[in-house]
Structure formats: C-alpha cells, structure tokens
C-alpha cells in the first residue's frame, strides 16, 4: 500500500522537478502553437526569460510599501516547502507527517494571499480587479480541493499526503472506477483554475480587464518577475504531479520505469492543458462559479458513491 | 408609652409647623428635627432586647410591636429622615425656580411640612396597629395626610391627580373596611369570647373562623389594600398621583406608604386558616402577575419618566405579592426594603432632573452626562439597581423567587422583568446619553440640581452595601 522509501531517489526527483518545472509552460505553448499552425516560442523560452530577468535590477513603484518586494520571495519559499511533501517519483517523501495535506493546501493559500496583498499595494485598479477575482475563485477552488482530500482520506484512512496518493489508482479493486474518474476530472478543473489556465483566466491576453493572475503581477520587473514566473511553474508542476500520483498505482514495475512513467504522465498533462486551451475560449466571470461548484458536486457524488456502495 | 409617643410626636411638630405659617425657614427646620427625633425614638424602641407591652384601651389593643412592624418601622423612619433632610434643601430651591419660571412658589412651607409629618405619624400608626380596625383608620388617615401635598402647585393636572387619588383610594379602602367587618363577623364561636378585630386574639382563634366568610373577607381586603398598594386592576391612581406630586412626596409614597398597605394584606395572610392558604396563594400570585403584566406593557415607550418610576413601583409591589404568595415571608421583607430605598433615591433624582430641565417628558431631556453629570450617574445606577442587576438586593429576591416558583411562573416572571428592563433602559439611556441637550438647562438650575445629589448618593451607597452584605451571607442565611 505504501510508496517505496528511497530518500536518495526522492531527493533526485525533487531536484529534477525544480529543474524541469518551467519546461511545462514550454510544452503548453508549443501545443497551442501547433494547433494554431505556427511554430511558437522555443521549448526553453521560459528558462531564458527567468535567467535574463534575474540579472536585471528591480523597479518599484513609489506608492508601494515593502510588501511588493517581500511577497514574491516568501511565496516562492512557501511553494518550495509545499513541494517537499509531494511523494515525487513514487518515492515516499521523507518529511511526510500526519496532516501534511492540510499544511500543503494552506501553504498554497499563503502564497496566494501574499500575491493578492502585493497586487493591492501597487494601488492600480487592474491589480485590484485581478486580486478580488482571484480571492473569489480560489475560495471555491479550496472547497473542491478539500472535498477531493476527503475522498482520498476515506480510501486511505489517513491524512498524510504520501499515504493518501498511494492508496488509490485507476484500477484499484473494490472502488468503482467512475468515482475515481470523477475525482480526477474535478482535480483537473482545480489545476486549470489554480494555475490560471484558459477556461478561467487567459494568461496571454493584452486586455487587462479580463486578466486575473497576469493583472496581479503587472507591476513587477527584474528578479521579482522571474521569481513569480518560476513560482507559477513550480505550482503547475506540483499540481500535475499530484494528479499523476493520484492515477498511478503505488508500484509501476521497477523504480526506473516508475520514474519514467511519472515524468511522461506529467508532460502528458501539460500537453492536455495545451490542448484544452487551444479548444476552449475563456468563460465569462459569472459562469466560473457554476463550473467549480459543478466539480464540487462531482466529488461529493464520488464520495457518496464510495461511502454507500 | 413610647409607642404612643412615636405617633404623637410628629403630630405635635405638624401642629407647631402650621402655627409657624408665616416664618419662612422655620417649618423646614422643624421637619428635619421631627424626622430625626422620630428616628431616634424608633431606634430606641426596636432595640433587639426590648419587649414592649401592647397598648390597649377599653378592650381594643391599639399599638404593639412584632417582627414585621419593627423592620418596616425602622425602614419607614429612616426613609422619611432622608427625604426630610433632602426636602429641607429642595424646597427653597424649588420655590426660587418656580417663581423664576412663573409657575408660582408652590404650597406654603408650613402646610407642606404639616402634611408630611402627618403622613409620618399616620404611617407609624399603621405599622404599630395591633387591631384591624385601628389599622384601617390609620391607612385612611394616610390618604388624608398625603392628598393635599399633591396639589403643591395648583396646576389643572395636579388637581385632577389629587381628585382621582382621593376618590379611588377612599373607595378602595372602603372595600377594605367591609372586608374587615366581614372578618369580624366570620367568628362563629360564643359571643363573649369574640376576638373583635384584635390581632392577637384573632391569631389565637383563627382555626374556628368560618371558611366562606373568611374567603369573602380576604377578597375584599385584597381589593381594598390592593388599591392602596397599587396592585394591577386597582393601580390606576398610582401613575397620576406619583407623577404630579412634588419630588419628595412620591419618594415617601412609593417608599413607605405602599409597604404599609402591604402590611395590611400580610396581617390577613397570617390569619388565614390552613385549609384556605391555597386559596390565598392563588389569589396573591394572580394579582402579582397581573400587576407585573400591566407594568411591563405600560413601561414600553413611556413618555414621562416619573410615570415610568410609578409603574416600576406597581411592578415591584406585584413581585412582592408573588413572593408572599409563594410563602417566603423573609424574602418579601427584603424585597420591600430594597425597593423602598432604591425607589426613594430614584424619585429624588427625578425631582432634581425636572428641576434642572423643567419638563417631565423623556424627549425633553437629553445629554444629561454633559449638563448634570452627577445626577446622571446616580440616575443610571439607580435604574440598574431597580431593574435588579446584581449588586442590588432585588436581584437576589428575583433569583430566589424564580428558584422557588414552578417553572412556568418563573419563566413568565423573567420574561416580564426583561420587558420592563427593555422599556426602562431605553428611556433612561435616551435621557442620559445623546448629543448636547436640546433645551439646555440654564446653568443656575443645573447647579441647583447638582447640589441636591448628596441624599440620593447616600441611598445608593446603602443599597449597594445592603446587596453586598446579603451576597456574603447568602450561603449561611436562611434565605435559601
């Protein structure tokens, strides 16, 4: 039932994920370009951006107090710490403890709150608009996330992230597979919402009125902007890896095959996000709560399926 | 003989005050001197050791002391002493302001003092009476003594108040007389042994009293003395009389006179034969509840703060009757003491406020903290005490009332007390707080009102000390 305990393997995978995280954005942009019939930016474009930005000096607005400089750093540290608990590469994370899933979710909440505060500090109306929408949608996303955790907790009878994910896979006997599909689908919706992907928020738009996440980081420049992009990619990577671990059983052949399958699955999810973005247009802001509450309903049905059958 | 002296001394001073009609300040000094002499006499008489023989004349034993009358007598004379000292300083200030405001100087000092001292002597007669007939005569005399003071300033409203007071009280007390006579004829034993209204004799023979006659007598007594005490269906004179009378008079009326009427009913409850005690209980509780309901409903959005205090007296008399109905005599006496002192303080404060703001309407008085801070704090503290917040003994009596009463009665009493609390606090807070006063009291009247705060402050301190002492002895005392 438990993931293999291989701290060395886990450390390697953790460092690998730090390195490979920006690659996901490259894959997404490449897939979108392929659908649009153009060649699109290079796969490693995000790496070049981050390296270039980290060499520049920062420019800060006069209206801001210290919060604008402080927020990107602390949210980066928060996301990094959150990733410590993810059982990367099907290895049990050495730092796992009972209740670390709650800690994980609230760390993401911390990074979100800091970005909101920094956005409001700039005093520009676009940043205010973005942060108020972010607060509204993330509150709904949090509810769905916790519903999913309840589902996993009932199966795994524990609230440690490593045990939760290992107890379940698409083919585990005794649990009706539609329930797992529902949970996975709802989790995919949460990924799209949390990482500001298309149906909920359009990262590449130039119209500030429609942005959420981009509007919040309008005022950053230099190393801060680089850190924010890196934090965003880390968040995307950790959510995709969670989804992958959710689907994969705790043992996939040997350790090496397990790691390879895990990484390809994450890349596949990035491609899937790219496909979804090229097919769908952005939802109107009033429609977004309906979809999220729909996914909450889906998870609750999955839970009731689990409990009563 | 001292008992007779207690009654005659105030009368003597009253006559003296009448004769000094013309000489301005003398009557007021007489009033103070008489009150203090009365207090000294009473203290001498009610010393724990002394046992006094019953004064009787031609078969009718007139005056005597027992536990209840000792307590109520000390309370009444203490209260009257406070009011006397207060009105000695209140009267000249009121006269000066009355002339300034064109309302006339009010009743002459001599007559005012005579009536007050007459009231004192008649009240002590009531408390000392050992014969139901003498009790009735004394209570009737209190009405006579207190009626003229109501028309202190001959305004149309005070005349009307006095007329109603006179008529309703006299009709009520007439019913009480009929009840007393019914009781006298309820004795069916041999003629020569007939108790003839003497209390001790009646107590001895109360088992042979005829049931039907006693029930009729008790009902008439309840109606009669209930009128004088302000129980619900018979309370209609109380708000008018107390709101129109000048400041010291309702303080004495509410403080002491209602207790005397309560004593009338108490005498009859003590006489009740055992099989009728259930009957008496239900009647007492019914009337008490009725007056609580009336007080609660009339307290909401009351326009005149003196009427508010009058209805609060109705409410507390109702509570005392319920406590008596539940059989807890000691608690009822404690309730009366607490209520009298606090109500006296509140009426004196109301007098000061009406002197400062020259109006009795609640809406006319605003921002008292700014204009007359000391009276305002006393007014607020007095109100909280009268509504039964802890440091006051009234909280303890209400608490034990609810603890002893059946659940439904406890719940309704608490609800009604809450309604009263809402009404009173909303009125009081309206007066005490709020922006700068709408009709700013002229500086001079405000200062006069502030200077008269000493007696109410003393009363508040005594009530608080009484409450604290009771809290300390709550466990060991027999109350629980």
């Amino acid at each position: 039932m438990m993931y293999k305990v291989n701290h060395g393997g886990w450390l390697v995978m953790f460092l690998a994920s730090l390195l490979l995280a920006p690659l996901l954005y490259g894959i997404i942009n490449k897939v979108k370009a392929f659908f649009a019939g153009r060649r699109g930016p290079r796969l490693l474009q995000v790496y070049y951006d981050i390296i270039k930005l980290s060499r520049k000096a920062g420019i800060f607005s006069r209206t801001t107090s210290g919060v604008l400089q402080l927020a990107p750093i602390v949210s980066l540290v928060a996301v990094l710490m959150a990733m410590l608990f993810i059982p990367a590469g099907l290895f049990r994370s050495p730092l796992a403890f009972a209740g670390d899933v709650i800690f994980f979710c609230y760390l993401l909440g911390l990074s979100r709150m800091l970005t909101i505060l920094a956005a409001m500090d700039t005093g520009s109306s676009f940043a205010g608009m973005g942060s108020s929408r972010e607060a509204h949608f993330s509150m709904l996303a949090e509810a769905v996330l916790f519903a999913i955790i309840i589902f996993l907790a009932i199966v795994a009878r524990s609230i440690c992230l490593s045990n939760l994910l290992s107890a379940l896979s698409l083919v585990t006997p005794g649990i009706s597979s539609p329930a797992i599909l529902l949970v996975a689908g709802a989790f995919f919706v949460v990924i799209l919402l949390e990482n500001c992907r298309l149906p909920f928020d359009d990262p590449e738009t130039h119209l500030e009125l429609t942005m959420i996440h981009e509007a919040m980081i309008l005022d950053y420049a230099g190393p801060e902007l680089g850190m924010i992009h890196y934090t965003a990619s880390l968040k995307l990577w950790s959510f995709c890896s969670l989804l992958a671990l959710l689907i994969l059983p705790e043992r996939v052949g040997g350790t090496l095959t397990g790691v390879l399958v895990y990484l390809t699955l994450i890349m596949a999810f990035a491609a899937a996000i790219g496909v979804v973005e090229s097919i769908m247009a952005r939802y109107r802001f009033l429609k977004v709560p309906h979809l999220v509450i729909g996914s909450l309903a889906a998870v609750l049905t999955a839970v009731s399926l689990l409990i009563f059958f | 003989m001292e008992l007779v002296l207690i009654i005659l001394l105030p009368l003597l001073f009253a006559v003296l005050a009448l004769s000094l009609y013309r000489h301005g300040e003398w009557p007021l000094r007489l009033l103070q001197f008489g009150a203090i002499c009365h207090l000294v006499l009473v203290c001498r008489v009610t010393l724990p050791g002394r046992v006094l023989a019953v004064v009787s004349f031609r078969g009718v034993d007139l005056f005597g002391l027992d536990e209840v009358s000792k307590l109520l007598l000390t309370l009444t004379s203490l209260l009257f002493a406070c009011v006397a000292v207060h009105s000695a300083r209140w009267y000249p200030a009121d006269q000066r302001l009355g002339i300034e405001r064109g309302q006339g100087p009010g009743m002459r000092a001599g007559l005012f003092v005579a009536c007050m001292l007459g009231l004192l002597s008649t009240m002590s007669a009531v408390l000392l009476a050992r014969n139901l007939g003498v009790l009735w005569v004394a209570i009737e005399a209190t009405t006579l003594a207190s009626a003229p003071v109501i028309i202190f300033r001959q305004t149309p409203r005070s005349l009307e108040a006095m007329w109603k007071y006179m008529l309703i009280c006299s009709v009520g007390i007439g019913l009480a007389l009929f009840g007393t006579l019914l009781l006298a004829s309820a004795y069916t034993g041999p003629h020569e042994l007939s108790p003839g209204l003497n209390l001790d004799a009646l107590m001895a023979v109360r088992h042979e009293l005829d049931g039907a006659w006693f029930k009729a007598a008790f009902i008439f007594i309840l109606a009669g003395y209930g009128t004088k005490m302000g129980l619900a269906p018979f309370h209609t004179w109380l708000p008018d009389a107390h709101s129109e009378a000048p400041a010291p008079e309702p303080a004495v009326l509410s403080g002491a006179l209602l207790n005397c009427a309560f004593l009338g009913i108490l005498r009859f409850v003590q006489l009740a034969p055992p099989e009728l005690s259930g009957f008496c209980r239900t009647l007492l509780i019914a009337l008490g509840l009725c007056s609580l309901v009336v007080a609660a409903f009339f307290m909401i959005r009351q326009r005149d703060y003196k009427r508010m205090l009058a209805f609060s007296s109705v409410e507390h008399m109702g509570l005392a009757t319920i406590i008596l109905g539940l059989g807890m005599h000691n608690l009822a006496y404690l309730h009366l003491c607490g209520h009298s002192l606090t109500k006296m303080m509140l009426f004196l404060c109301a007098g000061n406020i009406s002197m400062a703001y020259d109006t009795r309407a609640v809406l006319g008085v605003k921002g008292m903290f700014g204009a007359i801070p000391r009276t305002a704090t006393l007014w607020l503290i007095g109100l909280l005490l009268i509504c039964g917040t802890p440091p006051s003994p009234l909280f303890i009596t209400e608490l034990f009332l609810v603890m002893q009463a059946p659940l439904w009665l406890g719940a309704t009493v608490l609800f009604l007390l809450f309604v009263v609390f809402c009404g009173m606090t909303s009125i009081c807070l309206d007066m005490v707080m709020g922006p700068s006063p709408t009709t700013p009291p002229d500086e001079e009247a405000g200062k006069a009102a502030e200077s008269l705060c000493s007696i109410p402050a003393l009363a508040v301190v005594t009530v608080l000390v009484m409450g604290l002492v009771i809290i300390f002895f709550i466990e060991s005392s027999g109350l629980v």
Partner: protein, 234 residues
C-alpha cells in the same frame, strides 16, 4: 316583618332608590342626610333594651353618627355646592329611568345572592342587614360611575360608606368604640377635604364634570403618535 328594625332597614333601602332617581342636587343631599339619620337610629332600634348591658357607649356612638352623617356632612356639601356656583341640574351619564331599573336589579341580585349563600331560614332582622348593606354599597358605586358631577361622586362615596356602616350596625358587630369613632372621623375628614377639592376644581376648571378631568393618562392619542417614540430604534 312588622318589627321596628325591619322597617328601619326597608326605609334605608327605600332612600337608596329615591336617591338614584332624583334629578336635583340639593334633593340628593337631603336624601343622604335622611340616610345618615336612619343609620344612627338603626343600632338604637336593634338593641334589646331589656338586657342590662351598658348602653351608654352605644347611645353616644349613634348620636355622633346622626350628628356627623345626618347634619354636618350635608351642610358642608350644600355649602360647597353654593360656593362652587354649580348649576343645580344633574346631567347623569346614565339616564334616570335606566339607573332606577339598575338599582332595582342590584337589590334583587343582592337578595338572591344572600338567599343562596346563607340558607338558614331564621328570618331575624339582623341577617336582613347583609343584603341591604350590599345593595347600598353597589348603588353607591353605581352613583359614582353613573353621574358626571364631582359633588355627586362625593355623595356616591357617602352612600357607599353608609352601606358599610349599616352592615356593622345591623349585625351588632361591635369592635370597640374607639374604632367606630375613628371610622366616623375619617369619613368626615375625607368628605371635608373632598369638598375643598371640589371647590378648588370649580375655581380652576370653571366646571366640575369629572369626566372632563381626563388630561392625565398614557394613551398615545393617534394624532400626536407621529411624535418620535421614546427611543429611536431605527
């Protein structure tokens, strides 16, 4: 039924009925005076002179009774009426005919109630006093309620008091001369002060209609209910 006490009681009852129906004020006052005298006579009539009990006290009391209730009070009332320049005419709230009917009803009810309560049929005169007293009291109260003038209310109160004392005298319930004297003095003082009050009211109001004396009260008459409530809750 022909013994002297019954006659006195019946006469007493009769004065009540006439009082209710009379329309002139002075006539009413004279009737109350007659009632006072009768009240004084009743104990003398009820006392069986044969027994050797000391009757000095009794005679003294009935004489003072007659003096106060028969003579002093009516004179005082007539003085008050003349000083208050009140019109002789009584405007009753309840019509004369109806008040007579009501008085008879009261008397009937009292006798029926008495018969129901006390079922011994010794028809001695003493027990007759109870229904007469009850009837007089109720008629007294009726006069207070049904008449407009303040003076008639004082009269009603006097009749009410007479009813009570006829009960005491009728049942020969003696509870000490001091007490009876006290009661008499109290009633006298009360009516005396009421007379002064009526005089003061007539000076102040130029009328003595009790029902127009209704300024005091709690009713929030609708037209000024627009006045803001005691606390501005909103």
């Amino acid at each position: 039924m022909s013994t002297l006490p019954e006659i006195a009681l019946i006469l007493f009852l009769f004065t009540n009925i006439v009082l209710v129906s009379s329309s002139r004020l002075t006539h009413c006052i004279q009737l109350v005076a007659v009632q006072g005298v009768l009240l004084g006579v009743i104990p003398l009539v009820f006392w069986d002179w044969q027994s050797a009990a000391p009757y000095g006290e009794l005679v003294f009391l009935s004489l003072t009774n007659i003096a106060i209730k028969g003579i002093a009070l009516p004179l005082l009332l007539i003085l008050a009426v003349r000083r208050a320049q009140v019109r002789r005419e009584l405007e009753p709230v309840v019509g004369y005919a109806f008040s007579q009917l009501f008085a008879i009803l009261i008397i009937a009810a009292c006798f029926a109630g008495y018969r129901h309560l006390v079922d011994d049929d010794t028809a001695n005169a003493a027990l007759l006093a109870i229904p007469v007293a009850a009837a007089t009291m109720l008629i007294g109260l009726f006069i207070i309620i049904a008449r407009r003038k303040a003076i008639t209310q004082v009269l009603g109160f006097l009749v009410f008091e007479n009813g009570i004392s006829v009960f005491a005298n009728g049942l020969m319930v003696h509870h000490g001369a001091i007490v009876e004297l006290g009661i008499l003095l109290d009633v006298f003082a009360l009516v005396f002060i009421m007379g002064i009050a009526v005089f003061k009211i007539s000076q102040e109001f130029q009328h003595i209609d009790a029902d127009r004396l209704n300024a005091l009260g709690d009713r929030q008459d609708p037209e000024n209910s627009a006045a803001p409530p005691a606390y501005t809750w909103e």
